[in-house]
């Protein structure tokens, strides 16, 4: 088995290498083609379809009779799209290549690898005397290549941590970038004053401009590392937000400084105007973004009949926002980000599940392709442009970039820490400072410098040097360093199994309690926004604002997921029902002699536990990984198991008449009662037991949603009744299993009640068999009749306002990607 896998991997690699070489040959061959272009054009006349009969009266009797060409080639016609596609393919192949060697991407960030491949291809092109395509011209970059990346970041932005830390993020992004750019610019200007370096012709404005360009941080590689290491949420979101927003600041500064660089003298009014312009730009960007976001949301309200083009709206509106903002020269990056954030919340509720998936996939795809291309071209262009190398300038740029960033983070953190509920300690600050890699924006901006700047080549060289240095050296080293400073003091001696299990339990508990307490520090605004949102926005922008449809659709989705997952799992039933079944067997064997566990067994147990116990929930919820879609599999697994265990404990009667009590309690069949009506079952259940109605509602919802119980029927297959009954018989206090399971759906249904339904009371613990039997009888007798009026149980507050709230269960499904929405309901 191992050898065949190896063989497959090797053939994979071989095939890949061949494809890659083929592509390179194409690139080279294309160069050949271009040289034969003039020759090709000479063929053109013969390519035209010729009407042989017309040639008679014409005055070219010497012309040869042209035959219908059987095989022709017209390269120039397809040249542009062909090359475009080739480049994208090449970059994507590179990406495939990296991931064949899985370990590489752990140690070397993808951006490094892409740049390296770009360097290689650039070398090839240089040797063939070929020019790279003008990808990095201002228009192409800013209009075509940058928007997908920004959309990707904005769409998958973790909104809840972002809004919790919005002040800090903006503080670092705006003030930090200003600090950096002015600091670096001034220091470099000071260096330029030294005659010995030969840089005296670079004036202050140009230095400041260069400083602004260099201070654009692109922490992609750092983000990946942080996420893997599990750095805390605050640091993560600050770096993420900073990287996103300082693009906007940098562009503003760049425009301002390049404008100033043209002026012979700078007056103070210009500076003030610059500051004013900054605010206009920022506010305008946000405004436009929000506007377009709302329009997009409103549009999707009406698209339920044209599901196929729903994803289009997301892209078109966000791109429009970007372009319109560019037109007015306000911050298009900000516009795009705010548009994406605003839109996402509402659009994902309006569109179908498939459209939602499509949107996410396409956003990710475009963003990844764009980024790949940029880094790739960085490598290519590095080789093929003219460079001007000046040791002093470049070295000092590097040094100053480091120093000013470190200082900046330090000073800014000191200032902002007292206002934060969770201050940054030095480790966090180091992570922030060291994670400040430079990347694509810096590169593009320097390329679009006007040629009036006489030392442009020097700037280009310096930027490329800084980028390559930070990406390679810092990018590769950040992981070991962060791991080193974060090293936990683990006991070297083997823990007992007890310790391992109990400590994991405690960690889960602490994580849960922390979530329970919440770290929200801006309750007031959040509540206000939530009220506004519920009352006005949702009514306008969402198609089906009633809670009903969301419950049913949620259950449809959940059931679908469950069905798909059950079919997918290699091992058996993920609802783990059979495992509980076997419990009853083992209980009988409890009297057998104690097993002897050998050391090897214990080690194996440790292994099993450490590999399979659920990790503590990463607060950042790995959905800001740039290179992959949100990974919801673990949370989905937990949720589906809960859901399944809830349904297992559904006590609806069987399809046919329950035969007499001959069937031992241990063998009840579980299936959903056909035609059972929600309300009636609910009412009957409530009346008979005063609790547990939740469970029936689920089962009835399942039926309402039309999903056949068999789709998830493994857990409903004849199986033993859960221990609860037997244990209920044996212990007077009931076990918690059923209770807990029943309470599970509360989170699904808690607030999603129909109309003025009184809330579901918490299921009371069953305490005797008799009640069980009663229930089964009662559900059998329930008929699909009109719901009897439900008396609101005393003491429970009506959850009327929850009728407004959308499916509480939504967070379950889209939780990972909609942390904001879920927690906004709180």
């Amino acid at each position: 088995m191992g050898t065949s896998v190896l063989f497959e991997v090797r053939t994979e690699r071989v095939v890949f290498c061949m494809l890659f070489l083929l592509l390179l040959c194409c690139v080279g061959g294309k160069c050949e083609l271009q040289e034969t272009k003039p020759a090709a054009s000479a063929e053109l006349p013969t390519v035209n379809p010729i009407k042989p009969f017309d040639h008679g009266p014409q005055a070219f009797p010497e012309e040869e009779r042209a035959n219908l060409p059987v095989f022709t080639m017209d390269y120039p016609r397809i040249q542009v799209p062909f090359e475009f596609t080739l480049w994208i393919l090449l970059a994507s192949f590179a990406k495939i290549g990296f991931h064949i060697y899985h370990k590489i991407t752990i140690w070397i960030p993808e951006s490094c690898l892409l740049i390296s491949i770009g360097l290689i291809v650039g070398g090839i092109m240089y040797s063939v005397k070929e020019e790279p395509p003008a990808v990095l011209s201002s228009n192409v970059f800013f209009l075509y290549m940058l928007p997908p990346i920004i959309l990707d970041s904005g769409y998958f932005m973790p909104t809840r941590p972002f809004f919790e830390n919005v002040g800090t993020v903006l503080w670092y992004a705006v003030v930090g970038t200003l600090w950096n750019s002015i600091g670096i610019g001034l220091s470099l200007f000071a260096i330029c004053q030294f005659e010995v370096f030969g840089l005296q012709d670079i004036n202050l404005q140009e230095n400041l401009l260069f400083g602004a360009i260099i201070s654009a941080v692109d922490p992609v590689a750092a983000l990946n590392v942080f996420e893997d290491i599990g750095v805390n949420e605050q640091t993560y979101i600050v770096i993420f937000g900073e990287g996103l927003f300082n693009d906007a600041v940098t562009v503003v500064l760049y425009n301002m400084f390049s404008f100033l660089a043209d002026l012979p003298i700078v007056e103070s009014t210009d500076v003030f105007l610059g500051v004013a312009r900054f605010f206009v730009v920022a506010a305008g960007g946000v405004l436009f973004g929000v506007l377009f976001g709302f329009v997009a949301a409103f549009t999707t309200r009406f698209t339920h009949n044209v599901r196929q083009i729903e994803p289009l709206f997301v892209f078109m509106y966000s791109y429009l926002a970007y372009l319109v903002a560019e037109c007015f020269a306000i911050s298009s990056v900000l516009a795009l980000i705010t548009c994406a954030i605003t839109m996402k919340y509402y659009v994902e509720e309006n569109v179908s599940q498939r459209s939602c998936t499509t949107i996410r996939h396409v956003v990710k795809m475009l963003g990844t392709v764009s980024e790949t291309l940029i880094f790739f071209f960085l490598g290519v262009v590095t080789i093929t442009t003219e460079h001007e190398w000046n040791w002093a300038y470049i070295l000092f740029t590097l040094v100053f970039a480091f120093i000013w960033r470190g200082l900046g983070i330090l000073v800014l953190s000191q200032i902002v820490n007292p206002f934060r509920t969770i201050p940054f300690n030095f480790k966090d600050q180091f992570g922030l400072a060291y994670g400040g890699l430079r990347g694509a924006i810096c590169f593009a901006l320097v390329f679009t410098l006007p040629d009036t700047i006489n030392r442009k080549n020097l700037f280009v060289t310096a930027s490329i040097a800084v980028i390559i240095f930070t990406v390679f050296i810092q990018g590769i080293s950040i992981r070991p360093i962060v791991e080193y400073i974060n090293i936990r003091k683990t006991n070297k001696d083997l823990m007992t199994i007890n310790v391992e299990i109990h400590t994991r339990v405690m960690e889960h508990v602490v994580c849960g309690i922390e979530d329970l307490c919440g770290q929200w520090s801006h309750y007031y605004w959040k509540d206000k926004f939530k009220k506004f949102n519920d009352r006005i926005l949702r009514r306008i922008l969402l198609r089906d604002n009633r809670a009903e449809s969301s419950i049913v659709s949620l259950y449809k989705k959940l059931e679908l997921q469950n069905a798909i997952d059950i079919l997918d799992t290699p091992m058996g039933d993920i609802s783990a029902a059979p495992s509980l079944v076997s419990l009853s067997d083992e209980r009988k064997e409890s009297s057998r002699p104690k097993k002897k566990f050998m050391a090897a067994d214990v080690r194996k147990m440790h292994d099993i536990l450490s590999k399979n116990m659920y990790k503590i929930r990463q607060k950042t919820l790995a959905y800001t990984n740039k290179y992959s879609l949100p990974d919801e599999s673990r949370t989905r697994e937990i949720l589906i198991r809960r859901h399944a265990s809830i349904r297992r404990s559904v006590r609806a009667g069987s399809f046919r008449e329950l035969p007499d009590r001959n069937i031992p309690k241990s063998q009840k069949y579980y299936s959903l009662q056909p035609g059972g009506d929600l309300e009636s079952a609910f009412a009957l259940r409530r009346r008979s037991r005063g609790g547990g109605g939740e469970v029936d509602r689920i089962s009835d919802h399942l039926q309402l949603s039309g999903v056949s119980p068999r789709s998830s029927s493994r857990s409903l297959v004849p199986m033993r009744r859960l221990n609860t009954i037997e244990e209920a018989r044996q212990h007077t206090p009931p076990t918690g299993l059923d209770v807990l399971d029943e309470r599970g759906p509360g989170s699904l249904l808690g607030s999603s009640l129909r109309g003025q339904r009184a809330p579901v009371p918490a299921p009371r613990r069953r305490s005797s068999d008799r009640e069980d039997e009663d229930n089964i009888d009662s559900t059998e007798e329930s008929e699909p009749v009109n719901p009897p009026p439900l008396p609101p149980p005393g003491g429970w507050a009506p959850e009327n306002q929850d009728a407004r709230e959308n499916g509480a269960g939504d967070p379950l499904l889209r939780h990972s990607s909609q942390g904001s929405r879920g927690s906004r309901r709180l």
Binding site: N498, I501, V510, Y524, M613, I638, T735, L737
Partner: protein
């Protein structure tokens, strides 16, 4: 929000809670505003549904048990005092408290009480023993779907074997304490409450 919270929570109550749990004034008001924001029915108590509405708890493997821990035996509503009493278990142990020995009533966040909280997560039927089944239930919740039942059963057996000193095939509270004596429970079961 600030004004609304403090009008509903009287000063004497805050003082009482302070004495009972050891939280500071600002922590109590902050947690009260959290309590009210969870309390959808606005009747001053939380039900289980209110807890289940917290999405992060839904994806916590032990979410149900944690919620259960807030509700005293047989009750379905918890008021703010009860809420704080449970949360008090997670208050970090401060140094000056460590020196207090044999106070009249042990503070809620003492090591023993923290361990008792963890113990009660397993021991649902409150018979002061973690039976093999109870252990298995918790294990099952915490472990992915790839573990077979035999493996889990063996792990449970081994766990009990390691801890059980009096041979009753279950873990009593004292055995639980003993097994975790080297673990820094004070730090593991503490949350930094924000001011």
């Amino acid at each position: 929000m600030g004004s609304r919270a403090s009008t509903l929570l009287r000063e004497e109550e805050i003082e009482e809670i302070k004495k009972e749990t050891g939280f500071s004034h600002s922590q109590i008001t902050r947690l009260y505003s959290r309590f009210t924001s969870l309390d959808k029915g606005e009747n001053g108590t939380l039900s289980r549904e209110d807890f289940q509405r917290i999405p992060e708890l839904a994806i916590n493997p032990l979410g149900d048990r944690i919620i259960n821990a807030f509700f005293p035996e047989g009750e379905d509503q918890v008021n703010f005092r009860g809420f704080m009493r449970t949360l008090a278990h997670f208050r970090p142990i401060e140094d000056n408290e460590k020196n207090k020995n044999a106070a009249a009533s042990e503070p809620l966040n003492s090591r023993t009480n923290k361990l008792l909280f963890a113990f009660r997560l397993y021991d649902l039927d409150r018979d002061d023993k973690i039976s093999r089944d109870e252990l298995l239930q918790v294990l099952r919740m915490m472990v992915g779907v790839n573990i077979s039942d035999e493996q889990l059963g063996s792990i449970a057996d081994r766990t009990i074997q390691e801890a059980d000193t009096n041979g009753d095939n279950s873990i009593s509270f004292n055995e639980f304490i003993k097994v975790l004596e080297k673990v820094d429970v004070e730090q593991k079961m503490s949350i930094r409450f924000l001011h």
